[in-house]
């Protein structure tokens, strides 16, 4: 199975490549006041308005000092398109099925919800994200806020 990978800090993450529509450079983001913190805002993707989710905020990581190089990974989810804002993009990796392991229990509860499994690559670990869960996660946070 192939994964589109990207980095947040030194950690490597991946989403199934078939769910990724395209990868684009930082767009001008329009913030949405009152929206949950993980939503950075809206971008204009050739006339389509796409919500941008800041993956650093989803994964409880410190914000980047200079986020100008961030990349939008435009991903197809159940509700349409969502853009995952990441630090920089990695390769498309063909991960063999036998290298996968379930998510280690040491990960914090909320983060575990968006990571579906972990792949042992030579040299580092690839954490596989479930984009649909990111959006759902997002929604449950809103209902909690209300």
């Amino acid at each position: 199975m192939q994964f589109c990978t990207f980095y947040l800090g030194s950690d490597l993450f991946g989403v199934p490549v078939l769910q990724v529509q395209e990868v684009v450079r930082q767009h001008e983001i329009t913030q949405v006041p009152l929206a949950p913190a993980v939503v950075r805002g809206l971008i204009n993707l050739r006339g389509n308005i796409v919500s941008t989710v800041d993956m650093r905020r989803v994964l409880r990581m410190e914000p980047l000092a200079d986020a100008s190089g961030s990349i939008n990974v435009i991903t197809r989810v159940a509700g349409g398109l969502v853009s995952l804002l990441v630090d920089h993009i990695g390769d498309v990796i063909d991960a063999p099925e036998d290298r996968f392991e379930p998510v280690p229990s040491v990960l914090a509860g909320e983060i575990r919800q968006v990571i579906s499994r972990v792949c042992k690559l030579p040299g580092n670990l690839l954490m596989i994200l479930n984009p649909d869960r990111i959006v759902e996660f997002d929604r449950s946070k809103i209902t909690a806020a209300e």
């Binding site: 001008e28 329009t30 913030q31 809206l42 006339g47 308005i49 929604r139």
Partner: protein, 728 residues
């Protein structure tokens, strides 16, 4: 059969059948009312025959067999003239409901559903037996092939017993109509509309970017692109238009059923069936309109006995009228029922504590009726004891306002009620005002925009007051609640309160409020794009749009914003704002007022701005005489005018020895007091000020309340009421 093809066929079957059944209903209703044409039965028969044939082919035996029973009945009916018979009509309507139900089931689950409709089948067979026993010779109807023959032998010609030449002519153009029209998937049109929306945005960008370049060739090309885009936008918009008759076609059936249920007799008159609306709007008004119609029949129109007792014809009239006016679609729903008694509405509102007695006392008839739209006051409570049907009038109003429309009500007790709805033609591209707040731009739909106010300098501190922490602004003497956009959205405003304050006066659910923003830009045509569900749930954004520079801007949901600021719960402010209008010519205590300053001769005159409807310029030659007074023709009506210099006995430019020049344009202040308008001619208009003034009364001067010092000059304050008496 190929899976995709099968699905495609099923989809087509469902769409065509549902459409056909709607027409079928109309034909049956025509029969019931006795205004059937020779085509009535032919059409009904053909529709059912098609449904039967196609569902048999695709493999829905139950639909086929149920359809067959009705088809046999119809084939008997079309061969003999029958008087209007509501028993047959009822059965056939039930029959169409049953088929509809099966079609819906096929659409949703892929099978025909569990109901076997045995009672219905028996009923139809009994009817058929009764008719064929009495009249028409028995016709062999041996199922599918037998009927196919019947159809083939006499395709669309009217029955032999009624040879009407007109019928044949009427049939002839039908095939050509079918040839020149194609069925297009709505999704396809929506995509086209989106692309055109993109084109409009790109056009805006090009126009902006090339505006300062001097190249004439490029400018001409840009101009052409501009024009073509506008035209394309219009044409594509037209393809999405549907006649409002599409919604209305459901109403005769609803009304018939309701009348049967309630024992009433109502004739429905439809005017302006062909008035076209965007299909999204058609969808949006379907439910509110159904509700209003149910209301009119349930609560408005009386039973035949009561109507006769009241000296009205036994049959009630419900008129639906639609027409285009001023870029909007107007819909009127009027009935000749017992109307709505404003006094009882007020009584109910008082009981519920929705208004205070003194507010109620100050309200006009229209405002009293408007109370019906308040949440918590249902028409069922007021008019009859029959229970309401779920949604109240407040929901109707909310739904209509959601699509940028408005609704109002007028009624004369004993003679009926009229509900007027105004809605925009389309929702996809709307005019909007662009404002800045913090680092962002927001678009406000122009439909809810009332006016813009800019307060400058030291006025800012003086004009803002607080009632229990809630900021208010005195707009021409009326209190306007203020909502700070930055505060509501939790963003940092980029403004210096001391300098300038921008207010956008908005209307939501009948109330006005002022939205404080950092800056006001321009109005633009924007393309509304939907927001992801998570953003929509916030309730303050109606959508998003892409601006000329390619950036995204959020569209504010005015109603949602007002709700969020908890403005709509308080009806009191609205009432106080309205009532303040009544007191515009009151005695002068020291208070801040907006005044129009005008000059007449050497005097400076102040007129309260709240009494002024418009400012115009007219040549004195337009003044004509009616009786003893001077009048002009104004907006198609006769309006009295007074020359202020004549009333005050001052030498001015319009009167006196300074021999007025008849063709010179003179400023005309159109004053509105209660219902009457009248014009006041002054020499010139100087300024509009908002000042705290102290009026010193001066006795014996006709038309003047007193004098005050305004901006360092002695100014006479006009007594508008007295002037109205002089004028009218």
């Amino acid at each position: 059969m190929n899976e995709d093809l099968q699905q495609q066929l099923v989809k087509e079957l469902v769409v065509e059948s549902l459409e056909g059944l709607d027409t079928f209903d109309q034909e049956i209703l025509a029969f019931e009312h006795g205004d059937e044409t020779p085509d009535t039965w032919n059409n009904a028969f053909r529709i059912i025959h098609t449904i039967k044939g196609s569902s048999g082919c695709i493999g829905f035996p139950k639909v086929e067999s149920v359809a067959h029973v009705g088809e046999s009945l119809l084939s008997v009916l079309r061969d003999g003239h029958r008087p209007a018979d509501s028993n047959i009509a009822s059965s056939l309507l039930q029959y169409s409901d049953a088929l509809r139900e099966m079609m819906r089931s096929i659409e949703q689950t892929g099978n025909e559903g569990a109901a076997d409709h045995a009672d219905l089948v028996q009923n139809l067979q009994a009817l058929q037996a009764g008719i064929s026993g009495a009249a028409a010779p028995e016709k062999p109807t041996f199922g599918f092939f037998g009927d196919e023959n019947t159809e083939a032998n006499q395709p669309v010609t009217p029955p032999a017993s009624a040879p009407q030449p007109g019928a044949v002519v009427k049939e002839a153009p039908k095939p050509s109509a079918a040839d020149s029209a194609i069925r297009v998937d709505v999704g396809q049109i929506d995509r086209l509309m989106n692309l055109v929306g993109e084109l409009v945005l790109a056009r805006n960008q090009i126009v902006q970017a090339t505006g300062h370049l001097g190249d004439p060739g490029l400018l001409t090309a840009v101009q052409r692109v501009n024009l073509i885009t506008s035209e394309l936008q219009e044409s594509v918009m037209k393809t999405r238009m549907q006649p409002i008759g599409n919604v209305w076609s459901k109403f005769p059936r609803i009304i018939r059923d309701l009348c049967h249920e309630l024992g009433k007799d109502v004739a429905l008159v439809l005017e302006g069936n062909e008035t076209e609306l965007d299909r999204t709007i058609i969808e949006a008004i379907k439910d509110p309109m159904t509700h209003l119609i149910r209301n009119a029949i349930d609560h408005g129109i009386e039973t035949p006995d009561a109507r006769i007792a009241a000296g009205k014809p036994a049959q009630g009239r419900l008129v639906l009228r639609a027409f285009h006016e001023g870029g909007q679609v107007n819909i009127e729903i009027s009935d000749d029922g017992k109307g709505i008694d404003a006094a009882r509405v007020v009584e109910k509102a008082l009981q519920r504590g929705l208004v205070s007695p003194e507010q109620a006392g100050r309200m006009s008839h229209r405002e009293q009726l408007d109370l019906v739209f308040l949440p918590g006051l249902s028409t069922a409570d007021i008019v009859t004891n029959v229970s309401g049907r779920g949604v109240g009038m407040d929901v109707v109003r909310t739904n209509i306002e959601k699509i940028g429309g408005n609704v109002n009500l007028d009624s004369e007790p004993g003679h009926g009620a009229v509900i007027r709805i105004k809605i925009p033609l389309t929702l996809a591209i709307i005019p909007a005002l662009v404002v800045n707040c913090g680092d962002d731009r927001f678009a406000i739909p122009a439909a809810s925009l009332v006016e813009l106010v800019r307060i400058e300098g030291d006025q800012v501190a003086r004009s803002l007051e607080h009632i229990h922490e809630a900021p208010v602004y005195r707009l021409r003497g009326d209190l306007l609640p203020l909502v700070d956009l930055a505060k509501e959205l939790g963003i940092t405003a980029r403004r210096h309160v001391e300098d300038t304050l921008f207010l956008v006066v908005l209307q939501a659910e009948g109330r006005q409020f002022g939205l404080v923003v950092d800056n006001i830009q321009d109005t633009e045509e924007i393309v509304v794009k939907p927001l992801a569900r998570e953003m929509k749930g916030l309730g303050v954004y109606a959508g998003a749009t892409i601006m000329g520079d390619g950036k995204v801007a959020l569209i504010l949901d005015v109603v949602g914003l007002a709700r969020r600021a908890a403005l709509l719960e308080e009806s009191s402010r609205h009432a106080s704002r309205e009532s303040a209008k009544q007191t515009c010519a009151a005695e002068g205590a020291e208070e801040s007022r907006s005044l129009l300053l005008a000059r007449v001769g050497r005097n400076r005159i102040a007129i309260p701005l709240s009494c002024i409807a418009r400012l115009e310029e007219i040549p004195l030659s337009r003044i004509e005489n009616a009786g003893h007074s001077e009048v002009i023709q104004y907006r198609g009506r006769i309006m009295s005018v007074v020359r202020l210099s004549a009333v005050l006995g001052i030498e001015g430019e319009s009167f006196g020895s300074g021999a007025p020049d008849c063709e010179r344009l003179m400023p005309l202040v159109v004053c509105a007091l209660e219902k009457d308008n009248f014009g006041v001619i002054v020499d010139s208009i100087e300024d509009i000020v908002e000042e705290q003034i102290r009026i010193e009364a001066r006795e014996g001067q006709r038309g003047i309340l007193g004098s005050a010092i305004v901006r360092q000059k002695v100014t006479d304050l006009l007594d508008v009421r007295e002037l109205a008496r002089i004028a009218v």
